[in-house]
Amino acid sequence: MQYLDKPFNQVVFFVVISIFLSFSSNLVRKDSIPLLAKKLEITEDIDLDSDESTLTAISLDKAKEFFENGVLFIDARDEVYYNEGHIRNAMKNVFLMELIFNIEDKQTKEDPIVVYCGDPGCGDSEDLAYDLQNEGFKKLFVFKGGWLEWSAANYPADRSNE
């Protein structure tokens, strides 16, 4: 037991015991959760007229379809990247409260929004989508391919040199 005389060892002891208890209790409980949260899955079957709240990922094709239907796009990247080029008419990401005012100038919280960032590996679009969900927005779609896929497909865009 002399091992536990040192404060550092006590910290390690607490952490190990906590990990053991948390994992074992999670194993036996009915409402257990996975150890790692699942990433957003891409969904193709989307009903925009449904009243249900949604936060899901969409493919390039779906993003293009939404774009053609006039759905609002928000660019979650930094302003510098936005200014270099963005999906046509996409809204710029600003301070969250200002962004919400800008969105609500155009539509209600029940209307769909597509959020995107640079490429499939960036997390800004998901982060922003969760922030907007917390603020009461009901239909949020994360276009995972982002600016990389959109510009590679030569879809409508606003660029700084145009």
């Binding site: 536990l4 607490f14 959760i33 150890l35 922030d131």
Partner: protein
């Protein structure tokens, strides 16, 4: 500081910290999925890690809370309380700086608990942080049972 006063101050800090951390842990242990969402809302962890934190953190809070009151491994308990409060203060500050209005998730996992983060949350955590240091830097080991007081 007068030894007698310090002795009682440390005990008061231990009781407050222990009570707060035990209370804070219970709802989180009961609702891990809800707490994982609360952790995720802060956006400080790589995606997916919020579940791990939501599972382990409440147990650390509970065990540390019980031990600091019971006078068991008080050094380790106070160090962990300090570390946790530094992390909480950082997480809340960055959320406020980014303009995110979220529930604290500190004592209740409910999304309508009315405990939105704010400057007051940070001040409260700084208070706990100071108490943690008072316990860690104590000279008197009164009412401590393991490791045995010298």
């Amino acid at each position: 500081m007068n030894k007698e006063i310090e002795k009682y101050l440390v005990i008061i800090c231990r009781l407050i910290l222990g009570g707060v951390f035990i209370y804070a842990s219970l709802d989180k242990i009961a609702n891990p999925a809800e707490f994982a969402k609360a952790v995720g809302n802060y956006h400080v962890l790589p995606f997916g890690m919020e579940n791990l934190v939501a599972l382990i953190l409440p147990w650390v809070e509970l065990i540390v809370g019980v031990c600091i009151i019971a006078g068991i491994l008080v050094d380790g308990s106070s160090i962990l309380i300090i570390i946790m409060n530094v992390i909480f203060i950082f997480a809340i500050s960055q959320a406020l700086a980014r303009g995110i209005s979220i529930e604290c998730g500190c004592f209740s996992t409910s999304s309508d608990s009315g405990s939105a983060i704010g400057i007051n949350t940070i001040i409260r955590d700084i208070g706990y942080l100071i108490m943690g240091f008072i316990v860690l830097k104590r000279k008197s080991k009164w009412m401590e049972f393991f490791p045995k007081s010298i």
